[in-house]
Amino acid sequence: MKPLKPLSVAACDRQITCARFSPDGSVLAAGAIDGTVRRWRVGEKQLDPLPHLQGHHGWVCAVAFHPKEPRLFSADTWGQLRCQSFADDAPQTAWQLDTAHDGWLRQIAISPDGARLATCGRDQAVRVWTPEGKPVAEHRHTDDVFAVTVAPDGQHVIFGDRHGHLHAWDFAAKRIVRMFDATVLFKIDRIQDIGGLRALAFFGEGKLLLAAGTTPDKGATIQSTPTLLAFDFASGALRHTFRHGGVKDGFIEDLAVHPAGHLMAVTSGNPGEGRLLQFRPQEKEAFDSATQLPNCHAIALHPDARRFAIASTNRDSAGNGRRTDKEGAYPANSSPVSLFELPAPA
C-alpha cells in the first residue's frame, strides 16, 4: 500500500485537538490549544484560512456542526459550551454557557436530526441540551467521562468513562438501559489511572457501537496499542476487537465512519509516531495503514466522502530542556492540517 500524498497542507501555528467539516462541506473548523477555533474555507484542493474564533479558554477540545442549520458548537477545557455561526468572516455567537460543565468539557455529540446535543466532562456529568442551549437532562456518573455519542434513534446517549465502562442512557426515561464492557481500554499502572477511551461512534446502520482508543500497557510515558472495540448495540456483546501495531503506536485519537462501510482512524503514539488507518472492524489487519503523519489528533471526513483532513503535529515536537530557536525564543509546536483525497475505488 503506498502512502497517500496530501492535496495540500495548511499551516496552523498551534496544536489542534479536534476538527470537523461543516455538513455543506464549505468550512473546516478545528479546536486549538490557545482557546481559539480555527477555520478554513474548503477549496477543491486547498484550505484557505479564515479568521480565528475567539472567546474560549484553555483548550478548545470539541467542535460539532448542527446537521441542518448553520451552527457550530464548540467546547473548551474550562467547561464552556458555545454556539455560533461559522461561515462568515465575523461569526456571531448565538449563545454561550460558561459552566456547561465544571472544568474539562470533553466531547459534544449531536443527534442525527439535530434536536439534541449531548456533552460529557471531567466533572463526571453527562448532559443533554437543546440546540438553543437549554438543559434537557443530566446524568451524574461516578467517574471522569471521556466520550459521548448519540444513538441513531436520537433517544439514547452513549457515554464512556475513564475505566472503560460504557453506558447507554435513555435520557428521557432517565434510565441506564445497557452497559458495555470496554475495560480493556483501561489500566492502573503504579498510581496512574490510564483511561484509553477516545471516541464512540455507531456503525453498520446503528447495529454496532464502536469504542476507539488504546489498550494501555505502561503509564507515565504511556505505552499502548491502538484499539477499537465493536459491540452489538442491542445485546451489549463484544463482537470484534481490532488492534494495530504495538505499544509505541499509541492511541486511536479520532474516528470517521465512511459511508462505504469502513472506518478511518488516526493515531498518535510516541512523539513522531502517527498514521491513518483504514479498516473494517471485523478484520484483523487494516487494509491501509501506509499514510504516516506524526501524532495525529483529528480526522475530518468531507461530506463528499472523497476528501478528508488530518490534523497532525510538527516533526521534532519533543525534547528535554528548553530548546530555543535562532532568535532565542521558545517556540510552540504546531499542527499542520493535511487535505487528502481518497483514491477512486478500483
Partner: protein, 412 residues
C-alpha cells in the same frame, strides 16, 4: 575564611539512648527535628501543580484556583493543598542543570555540590550523619517506596554504608525484620542475652571499635523489631486509610507519619510514574489529585499534633516539565524553571519564593540551583551549612555547594 570545624563520627545515637530516663527520652524525642522528604520521581509538572499558567500558550487545559493565601493560585488539580497554602513555602524559581533522569535524580538528591571526585551523600544520609538517629534509636534514614526494599548503602556516598537508607519496599519492612515465627520472644531474648555476654567478654580485652559497631547494629535491629507495628499495614486505622487515599502514595505517607511519630529522623517517600512524556494532562489529572489528597492529609495531621513545627517537609522531583506540549500530548523534562514545596521546621509559612514569566518558560527572578536548597534546608534544621564540614579521609568537604547560600526569604 569562615570558621570551620569537623564533625565527628557517629553523632549521638550511641551516647544518648542508654542514659536518659524514659520520660526524658520521650520529651527529647518530641522536640527533635525531623525531615519528611516526598519524592515524585519522573518530574511533576509545575504547570499542572504549583505554578499554573491558565489560558496561556503553554498553560495546558486546566484552570487555576485560589489558595488560602490571597494572590497565590494552584492548579485546579490540587484543591486540598490550595487550602494548605498558608502552611507552605512554594519555590517557583528552581533552575537546575540536569535534564536526564539517571543522572538528574542523583544530582538533585546529593545537592549537586562542586565536583570533589567523591560521591556526595543523598540528603537523607547527610541528615543521618549530621543529626544522628536521635533518642528513638531507630534507623535514622528510612525510605518508603514501591517495589524493592532493603538496605541502600549507595545513597550514603563517601559517608559510608552506615548512613545509607533503610528501604521499606511496598511499605514492607526489610527482609528478616520480624522475629522468625519458629522462635518465641523468650527464646529470642535468651539467645540474645547469651550473645551479649559473649560479646562483653570478648570486648573486655580488645579495642572497642568493632564490638561497639556490632552492638550498635544489633541494638538498632532490636529497636526496629520492637516497633514492627509501625509498618504493619494491617494495623493502619481505616479512617486514616480513606483520608490518605487507597493507593501506594497514600498508604506510604501514612506509614511515613507513623515513622515520624516513632521518632525516625528522616523519612523519604517516593512515588514513581510522574514522567508523563505522553498524555500528560490525563496523566496528571490522575496523579496530582492523589498527591493532593495524601500530602494535605499528612500536613494536616502533623500540624494537628504540633509535630510540623519540628519537622521539615519537602515535596519535589528531579526537574519540572516543558511548557511546550509535544506531539503525544505530553510534556518533556524541564530543569530550567520549575517548583517545589516546603513546610514546617524553620520554613516561612504562606510564601512563594521567586516567580516565572507569564508563560512559565524562564525564571523571572533569581533562579536557584539545588545547592541553595540544601543550604536552606540545613539552615531550617539548625545546621551551619557554611561552617560545618564533613571529614573524609582527612579531607574536609563542604556539606553544601560552597558558592551558594540559604534562601533567606524561605526561612522563618
Amino acid at each position: 575564611m569562615s570558621r570551620r570545624h569537623f564533625l565527628g563520627a557517629s553523632a549521638g545515637a550511641l551516647a544518648l539512648g542508654g542514659l536518659l530516663s524514659r520520660a526524658a527520652a520521650e520529651e527529647m524525642r518530641k522536640r527533635e527535628k525531623q525531615v519528611l522528604f516526598v519524592w515524585l520521581d519522573g518530574g511533576i509538572s509545575q504547570l499542572e501543580s504549583w505554578d499554573p499558567k491558565p489560558n496561556t500558550t503553554f498553560g495546558g487545559p486546566f484552570r487555576s484556583i485560589p489558595t488560602s493565601v490571597p494572590g497565590v493560585h494552584f492548579s485546579e488539580l490540587m484543591p486540598r493543598l490550595a487550602k494548605q497554602m498558608h502552611r507552605l513555602c512554594v519555590v517557583r524559581s528552581l533552575s537546575t542543570k540536569d535534564n536526564a533522569h539517571s543522572s538528574g535524580v542523583e544530582r538533585i538528591q546529593r545537592g549537586d555540590p562542586k565536583t570533589r571526585g567523591v560521591p556526595y551523600p543523598y540528603f537523607g544520609s547527610a541528615v543521618a550523619k549530621l543529626m544522628g538517629a536521635g533518642a528513638s534509636q531507630l534507623p535514622p534514614y528510612v525510605w518508603i517506596k514501591p517495589g524493592s526494599g532493603g538496605f541502600k548503602p549507595e545513597e550514603a556516598g563517601f559517608l559510608g554504608p552506615k548512613y545509607g537508607a533503610l528501604a521499606f519496599g511496598d511499605g514492607q519492612p526489610p527482609e528478616n525484620l520480624l522475629r522468625h515465627p519458629s522462635l518465641t520472644a523468650e527464646e529470642d531474648d535468651e539467645r540474645n542475652e547469651l550473645r551479649a555476654r559473649l560479646n562483653a567478654r570478648f570486648a573486655a580485652h580488645r579495642a572497642p571499635a568493632f564490638t561497639e559497631a556490632n552492638s550498635y547494629v544489633f541494638d538498632t535491629a532490636r529497636e526496629l523489631m520492637k516497633r514492627a507495628e509501625i509498618f504493619d499495614t494491617t494495623k493502619l486505622p481505616a479512617a486514616d486509610v480513606e483520608r490518605y487515599g487507597r493507593h501506594d502514595l497514600g498508604q506510604h505517607l501514612l506509614i511515613a507519619r507513623r515513622m515520624l511519630e516513632a521518632g525516625v529522623r528522616f523519612v523519604k517517600v517516593t512515588s514513581y510514574g510522574w514522567d508523563t512524556h505522553g498524555d500528560n494532562f490525563n496523566g496528571h489529572a490522575s496523579l496530582v489529585p492523589k498527591f493532593d489528597q495524601a500530602f494535605s492529609a499528612i500536613l494536616e495531621d502533623l500540624a494537628a499534633t504540633g509535630q510540623l513545627d519540628h519537622t521539615l517537609v519537602i515535596a519535589m522531583s528531579e526537574f519540572g516539565r516543558t511548557p511546550r506540549v509535544n506531539g503525544h500530548a505530553g510534556r518533556d523534562h524541564f530543569p530550567e524553571a520549575w517548583s517545589l514545596a516546603m513546610a514546617g521546621c524553620g520554613v516561612r509559612k504562606g510564601v512563594v519564593v521567586g516567580e516565572t514569566n507569564e508563560q512559565g518558560t524562564w525564571v523571572k527572578s533569581d533562579g536557584y540551583d539545588i545547592g541553595s536548597l540544601f543550604h536552606t534546608w540545613f539552615a531550617a534544621l539548625g545546621i551551619d551549612s557554611v561552617g560545618d564540614e564533613y571529614e573524609n579521609n582527612g579531607q574536609p568537604l563542604p556539606i553544601a555547594h560552597e558558592e551558594m547560600n540559604p534562601i533567606k526569604e524561605a526561612l522563618a
